[in-house]
Structure formats: structure tokens, C-alpha cells
């Protein structure tokens, strides 16, 4: 600011018009706007920031009685900020508050309003207390590493994470603004060494002191140790190298232990004053960065309470440990299932990002864009191609990939297959990436992805056809593989609408019909075909691969789940038609409604793919018979479906949470439909309720 040339001084000549103004406005009608119609209208008026509105006016809070926020030097000068001779409880308070700030940042708030309200972080090198200094420098490094991890994975949206740094220099030289000093450079090794040194010091103190003080020192040592191990683990995840595996697991396990100690000792630190906005009595100035923020920015961020923040860290570490298991998923299908399951648990942004990096680092989605769809021959293909190749091989085992049959050595066929696989890289990595996004964002991204898969389908058909002419008889291997994934994406797309509560009840029947009559059916047939294809080839050339021989029906569980889902959908569909016939479902007024338009809109993203979309008129034709059925009959049919789903689920020997939830839904709905079939509430037109609390996609039907 100082370097800018001074603007010419504006001289005003102010004349007070307050009383005139308030007199004149009385001439306006209620609701009338006096404005210059040429330049300014209601539209502009609506976009103005409202002053004195606590949500819109950033300048408001900082002026209300509070003195101007003070910066590091001022705080030190006036004795508000101790940089030496801190009590251990004070340092614990500062560390816990900083952790709460980090959590608030990870929940989508700005750095300026969270972590950098900590004045110590403004000049970490000026701190004399060695423990605090090491911690503050480590926080810089940790923030940098977190940001790096999230940026690399690219699975965040504006609601997940704010990457802005507001001029704080994260990374190797923790200073603020432009003051760059080479001597203050801190490398990763130096940072961890500093923390380690402090850890040892503190442990020594803990041993040498009497009971009470000893607890405090030990609590502080745990915090420093946690910071170091968390930082190191995250570094290993972000800059993944293959040797670090065991290390990283040990570090994360250590983090788990330490965070338990930290949670237990949360009371040892200085606590924030009651009803105070400041996360710790000393060292935090919530408004210090207010001027760095744009005028329309949410003015004020509530920092997460300490206990909750520490629990967040504990869960985060658990999630990271879980995410690590992806490294042992060699098969693409298991990996994909892992990603979907991980996403279902609504993991936080950092663990979602870490999971992406652990599986695909660096992301082939970004590299393959620059490569284009045609990888020049001779260039080393990305490792992900190998993953996909393995996936196709285990799924359908095409002769073209087995390497032993004629077509395997046939150069044009091989090239064809290679080209196809390299084209698959982008859509499939994007699929993995989509699974990393937050649940609400996945739906739109899946719809976009379907377009890309449509192109792949065509390609797969071509490859199958061309190889077919090259060899004598080749089944539709690649098409089956693609079909399987396409149908899964379609199902995920439709189901996400239920999870996000986008459909109205009167739309449910065609959603469930589509899932029941088509998507799950196609998925089952794709799985069946895959099993035959893979099985065929295996029988042909016995015992070439011992590993594959062991698995006789590799998709038994998946098929079973698929049948369960199909039956559930069938049950809902029949029940919904019966409800409709009995007038139990509120229909929109016909003049404002067009079912065909809505139907088209709901299934629009599926229209680009094969198998072709089932159109509305087909839906009408195929389902009109049901309109003449007796509701009782339909309820019984639905009952049978839920019964079937239940029986299938009960055959699973080791049920997980998902299976138990589905079982609960199927059992309850079975009973409800049985009651309905028996004539229960036959004449009531009260609409049934659909309760999604037991399962996000499959509701429990409730009669009220």
C-alpha cells in the first residue's frame, strides 16, 4: 500500500441535510423507490450489501466496542502475549485452540479467520519458548502439507475447502507477507527434528517432576508427538513413495494413541472464557485478519469447540488408517467398491483427498488430458492402464489379453486393445475421482461421466467386432466389461436422487420401476455374462493360472446383493402402484403437471447410452396392465419381493452394517405390505410415509 502513489486529495464540502432528508422522504409512498430509473433499478438495489446486518456487514463486529485488533508486536509490547516463560498449561491451551482452528479450516472456513487468528503464527521465529516455536513452525508445515494433499487430489468444491492463503507464506519459510529471509527456511527434516527434540525435552521434564506437573509435561509431550507424527504421516501420503508403507501405518497408529491422550488431558490447558469468541485467552485475535477479507465475505467464523475438534482429529486419524487399506486393493473392482463405501461414510475432505492420492498418485485424470486420447506408441503407459488391463482380464478374461491365443500375438488386435485401454484411463479415473467428491456433488458429476462412458461403449463394441474378425470366434468381452460399469454408474445416479431427496413421492414408482425392471436386471446379466466368459476361457486352457482357478464364482456376493436390490425395488414399485390405485398418493394437479416431461428429465442423462433409455411411452405401455390389477394383488406381489430380498439377505453368513440395515427395511416393509394386503387402512387416503432413516436409498414404508 505504501508504495502506491498517493491519490490526489479529494476535498469535500459537506453540508448537513439530515433533517431535510428525513422530511422529504415522507413524500414517498410506502414501498416507493426514489431512484434514477436510467441507471439504477430494483435489480441493482437487491445486490447491495446491507449495513448493520450481522450476516452481511463485515465491518460491524470489529467496531462494536472492541478496540482495534492488535498485531503480534503490539501484543508482545503490551504484555498480552508471552513469548517466553510460558506455563505448560498455557502452551497446551494454545495448541488445543490451534487444533480447533485447523478443524474449522478443514470444515470450509478461511485460513484468515481460523488458524491465522493465532498471533503466534504471525511471527513464529520471534517466539523464544522453544516448544511453542517448534509447534508454530510445524503448524505452517502441516497446513502446507494439508493444502498440498487436498489440491493434488482435486476432489473439493467451494463448500468443502477454501484454499486461499491470504498472503501467509505457507511451506518452507513460515513468515508473513513479503519479509523473506533465507535463514528462516525450515525443511521437512528440520521441522521434524525440532519437534523430536522438544518431545525428548518434555519427556525428560515429565520424568523429573513431581506428580502434578509431570502430568502437564506429559500432556504437552503428547501434543508435540501427535503433531510430528501426523505431519510425517501426511507427508508420506502426499508424496507417496512405495517404501513408506509400513512407516505410515506405524505413524498413524501412533497418532491414534496420542490423540487419545490429548482428549483425556483436554482439561489441562487454559480454557477459553465462557461466551467468548476467542478460542483461547492468550494468543488469539479473531478479528486480526478482517481487513484481508473481501467486503462481502462472511464476517465471522465460529471456531469449533475444543472437545469436538479433538474428536474430529481422532476420527480423521481413524479414517486415514482406513484409507490406507486401499493400497492393498490390487483389483480395480474391489478398489472401486472401497471408494464407494468410503464415500458413503461421508468422510471429511482431507481423508477423501488422502484416499485419492493413496490410490492414484499422481492422478492420471490430469495427466491423460495433456496426453490426449491417443498415447503415442513407445510412450510408457500410465500404471493405471495396467490396473484396468488387470481388471478386464479378471472380469471377462478376453483372449486378446491372455497373451497365449492367436489374437494375443496378433499385432493389429493388440494395438486396438491398447488404444482402447488407454482411452479408458480418463473416464475411469474420473469415476474414482467422482467417488471422492462430497455426496451432493456426485450426482451431477455422474451424469457428465455417463457421456464419456457412452463414447467408450461404442469403442468397446468396435474392438470386440474387429477382434472377432481377426480370430475365429470372440465373445463380447470388452463390451460386457464396460456395460457392467455403465450400469453401475446409472444405478448410482438414480439412487443418489433418493439419497438427496430430489424425487417427490408421486415420482417414486417409475424410479423404482426403472431400477427393478431394467438396471438391476442388466447388471445381473452383465455379471452372469462375465462369469461365463471368464469361466469359458479358463476351461479351455486348464490350469494356466492357478490363482484364477480358485475363484469359481467370484461375483456370488455381488450378484446376491444385486438380486436383493432388484427385489426391494420391485417391492416398492408394486406397492407404489397399489397406493396410487387406492388414491393414497397425492398427485400434482393435472394442469400443472406433465408426467412425461418429468420422466424425461429424470432419466435424461441415461439417454446417451446403450442399452437404450426406456422412454416414457414404453413405460406407459409396459406398465398399463398393472393399472387394472387389484391393489390387494399388488400388495401381495410386493410382499413377495420383500420376502425374497429378506431370504437372500439371510443367506449372508457375515452380515455387515449395510446388510443389517437392508434386512431391517425388508422385514418391516414385508409386514406393512402384508397388512395392506389384508385390507388394513383400505379406505384411508392418508398418504404413507417413506422413512429413509434406516437406509439412505431404501425407505421404510410407514402407515399413519
Amino acid at each position: 500500500m505504501d508504495s502506491m502513489p498517493a491519490a490526489p486529495e479529494v476535498i469535500y464540502n459537506w453540508v448537513d441535510i439530515t433533517s431535510d432528508f428525513f422530511k422529504y422522504i415522507q413524500d414517498l409512498q410506502l414501498g416507493e423507490l426514489l431512484h434514477d430509473g436510467h441507471l439504477f433499478g430494483l435489480f441493482e438495489a437487491m445486490s447491495a450489501i446491507e449495513m448493520m446486518d450481522p450476516k452481511m456487514d463485515t465491518g460491524m463486529l470489529c467496531n462494536r466496542g472492541n478496540p482495534k485488533p492488535i498485531n503480534f508486536q503490539q501484543a508482545v509490547a503490551c504484555g498480552k502475549l508471552k513469548i517466553d516463560n510460558l506455563e505448560p498449561s498455557e502452551i497446551i491451551g494454545i495448541i488445543d485452540a490451534t487444533m480447533a482452528c485447523i478443524v474449522s479450516w478443514l470444515e470450509g472456513h478461511s485460513l484468515a479467520q481460523t488458524v491465522f487468528t493465532n498471533l503466534y503464527l504471525h511471527q513464529p521465529h520471534s517466539i523464544i519458548n522453544k516448544t511453542l516455536k517448534a509447534y508454530c513452525i510445524a503448524v505452517y508445515k502441516l497446513l502446507d502439507c494439508i493444502k498440498d494433499c487436498i489440491n493434488k487430489a482435486q476432489v473439493f468444491e467451494e463448500e468443502d475447502f477454501l484454499p486461499m492463503g491470504y498472503g501467509y507464506r505457507l511451506g518452507s519459510n513460515p513468515t508473513m507477507g513479503n519479509a523473506y529471509d533465507v535463514s528462516l527456511e525450515v525443511s521437512e527434516q528440520k521441522c521434524t527434528a525440532m519437534l523430536k527434540e522438544q518431545e525428548e525435552e518434555l519427556n525428560k521434564k515429565a520424568r523429573s517432576n513431581d506428580d502434578e506437573a509431570n502430568d502437564l509435561w506429559a500432556a504437552l509431550a503428547a501434543r508435540i508427538r501427535f503433531t510430528r507424527m501426523f505431519y510425517q504421516a501426511l507427508l508420506k501420503i502426499t508424496k507417496k513413495d512405495s517404501q513408506s508403507g509400513a512407516d505410515c501405518v506405524t505413524l498413524l497408529n501412533g497418532c491414534s494413541e496420542m490423540i487419545k491422550v490429548i482428549i483425556k488431558t483436554v482439561g489441562k490447558g487454559t480454557q477459553p472464557a465462557e461466551n467468548s469468541d476467542t478460542p483461547n485467552p492468550m494468543g488469539f485475535e479473531p478479528m486480526v485478519n478482517q481487513r484481508l477479507l473481501p467486503p462481502t465475505f462472511p464476517r465471522y467464523t465460529r471456531i469449533k469447540p475444543r472437545a469436538e475438534a479433538l474428536q474430529y482429529f481422532e476420527e480423521l486419524v481413524t479414517r486415514l488408517r482406513h484409507a490406507w487399506k486401499i493400497t492393498s486393493c490390487t483389483n480395480f473392482h474391489t478398489a472401486l467398491d472401497f471408494f464407494m463405501e468410503f464415500s458413503r461414510q461421508r468422510a471429511c475432505i482431507l481423508s477423501r483427498s488422502a484416499l485419492q492420492l493413496l490410490y492414484l498418485s499422481p492422478s492420471p485424470a490430469s495427466t491423460s488430458i495433456s496426453l490426449g486420447s491417443n498415447v503415442p506408441p513407445g510412450q510408457r503407459p500410465h500404471a493405471f492402464v495396467e490396473i484396468l488391463r488387470e481388471s478386464v482380464k479378471t472380469f471377462v478374461n478376453p483372449p486378446a489379453l491372455s497373451g497365449k491365443t492367436a489374437s494375443g500375438v496378433n499385432p493389429p488386435a493388440r494395438e486396438l486393445v491398447e488404444n482402447f485401454l488407454s482411452r479408458c484411463v480418463r473416464p475411469f479415473t474420473v469415476l474414482v475421482q467422482v467417488c471422492g467428491h462430497n455426496r451432493a456433488r456426485q450426482r451431477d458429476k455422474l451424469a457428465l461421466l455417463l457421456d464419456e462412458f457412452a463414447a467408450l461403449q461404442e469403442e468397446a463394441d468396435n474392438v470386440d467386432a474387429l477382434i472377432g474378425t481377426a480370430a475365429e470366434l470372440v465373445p463380447r468381452c470388452f463390451s460386457t466389461w464396460i456395460l457392467y460399469h455403465v450400469v453401475r454408474v446409472m444405478i448410482a445416479y438414480l439412487l443418489s436422487g433418493l439419497e438427496l431427496e430430489l424425487y417427490s413421492v408421486h415420482e417414486y414408482h417409475y424410479i423404482f420401476w426403472y431400477l427393478y425392471d431394467f438396471l438391476y436386471r442388466w447388471l445381473l446379466s452383465a455379471l452372469g455374462q462375465a462369469e461365463t466368459l471368464a469361466g469359458d476361457v479358463r476351461r479351455d486352457k486348464k490350469a494356466t493360472n492357478r490363482k484364477q482357478k480358485k475363484k469359481v464364482r467370484p461375483y456370488a456376493r455381488e450378484r446376491l446383493m444385486c438380486q436383493v436390490m432388484q427385489n426391494m425395488c420391485g417391492g416398492y414399485y408394486k406397492a407404489l402402484v397399489a397406493f396410487k390405485l387406492q388414491g393414497k398418493i397425492r398427485q400434482p394437479q393435472s394442469e400443472f403437471d406433465n408426467e412425461s416431461v418429468r420422466y424425461k428429465h429424470r432419466f435424461a442423462p441415461l439417454s446417451v447410452l446403450s442399452p437404450p433409455q426406456v422412454h416414457y411411452h414404453e413405460f406407459c405401455e409396459m406398465t398399463q396392465n398393472l393399472q387394472f390389477e387389484k391393489p390387494v394383488f399388488l400388495y401381495l406381489e410386493g410382499c413377495k419381493h420383500f420376502q425374497e430380498a429378506r431370504t437372500l439377505l439371510e443367506t449372508i453368513t457375515i452380515p455387515d452394517q449395510e446388510v443389517n440395515n437392508l434386512l431391517k427395511v425388508a422385514k418391516t416393509n414385508f409386514v406393512v405390505l402384508k397388512l395392506l394386503a389384508g385390507g388394513h387402512k383400505k379406505n384411508s387416503s392418508t398418504p404413507p410415509e417413506f422413512d429413509f432413516s434406516a437406509h439412505r436409498h431404501f425407505p421404510i414404508i410407514k402407515l399413519v
Binding site: 500500500m1 476535498i11 469535500y12 464540502n13 459537506w14 453540508v15 448537513d16 441535510i17 439530515t18 431535510d20 432528508f21 428525513f22 422530511k23 422529504y24 422522504i25 415522507q26 413524500d27 414517498l28 409512498q29 410506502l30 414501498g31 416507493e32 423507490l33 426514489l34 431512484h35 434514477d36 436510467h38 441507471l39 439504477f40 441493482e44 438495489a45 445486490s47 447491495a48 450489501i49 446491507e50 449495513m51 448493520m52 465491518g59 460491524m60 467496531n63 462494536r64 481487513r291 467486503p295
Partner: protein, 105 residues
């Protein structure tokens, strides 16, 4: 607006009404300095108002009232609506003739 222009102009009360509005209209696009109940001062171009004295200022800057006499950099806010109940005083800058941003047809 249309209802007032349609009323016959004989009534003295109506003439006064029109005067009030005409005065306000003259002030449009001039610089206003508004002091708010929390002590902040806003300087911007007067764009719009209504019966409740809600005022919209364009290209508005916020000046903090400095108790220690030190003048701080103003903060640029842009388009701002000041609710009438938060206005303490309004001043008008009469140094320059009001800039015309448009020409009547």
C-alpha cells in the same frame, strides 16, 4: 409514482409532496456522507431511497471513526444499503456540480 402525478395539481399539499420528491431527485448521483449508529462513516454516491430512509450508496467507502486521531485507509465496500434506522446524520457534498451520468431524451 404514477398515482401522484395523476392527482390534480391544485391541492397545495400535493405540490409540497412533489417538491420533496423533486429535491430528493436533485440529490441523486451526488456524494453523501452518512454516519451510522455504530460510529462508522460511509461516503458514496446517493442512488436510491425510500420512505423509511433506507439509502443505497454506490462506490461506497467505509471510514472507521478513529478515536486516536489516526486516519485509517478506507475500506471499499461497493454497493451498500444503509437501513434508515441506523442513520445518524447525512451530509451532502456540494463542491462539484452533480455529474450527469445520462441525458434526458
Amino acid at each position: 409514482m404514477s398515482s401522484t402525478t395523476l392527482t390534480p395539481v391544485g391541492d397545495p399539499k400535493v405540490i409540497e409532496e412533489l417538491e420533496g420528491k423533486a429535491k430528493l431527485r436533485k440529490w441523486l448521483n451526488m456524494n453523501f456522507r452518512i454516519e451510522m449508529t455504530d460510529g462508522r462513516v460511509l461516503i458514496g454516491v446517493f442512488l436510491c431511497t425510500d420512505r423509511d430512509a433506507n439509502v443505497i450508496l454506490g462506490a461506497c467507502s467505509e471510514y472507521l471513526k478513529s478515536s486516536d486521531g489516526e486516519t485509517e485507509e478506507p475500506r471499499l465496500l461497493g454497493l451498500v444499503m444503509v437501513p434508515g434506522r441506523h442513520i445518524v446524520s447525512i451530509q451532502l457534498d456540494n463542491t462539484n456540480p452533480p455529474q450527469k451520468y445520462f441525458y434526458d431524451e
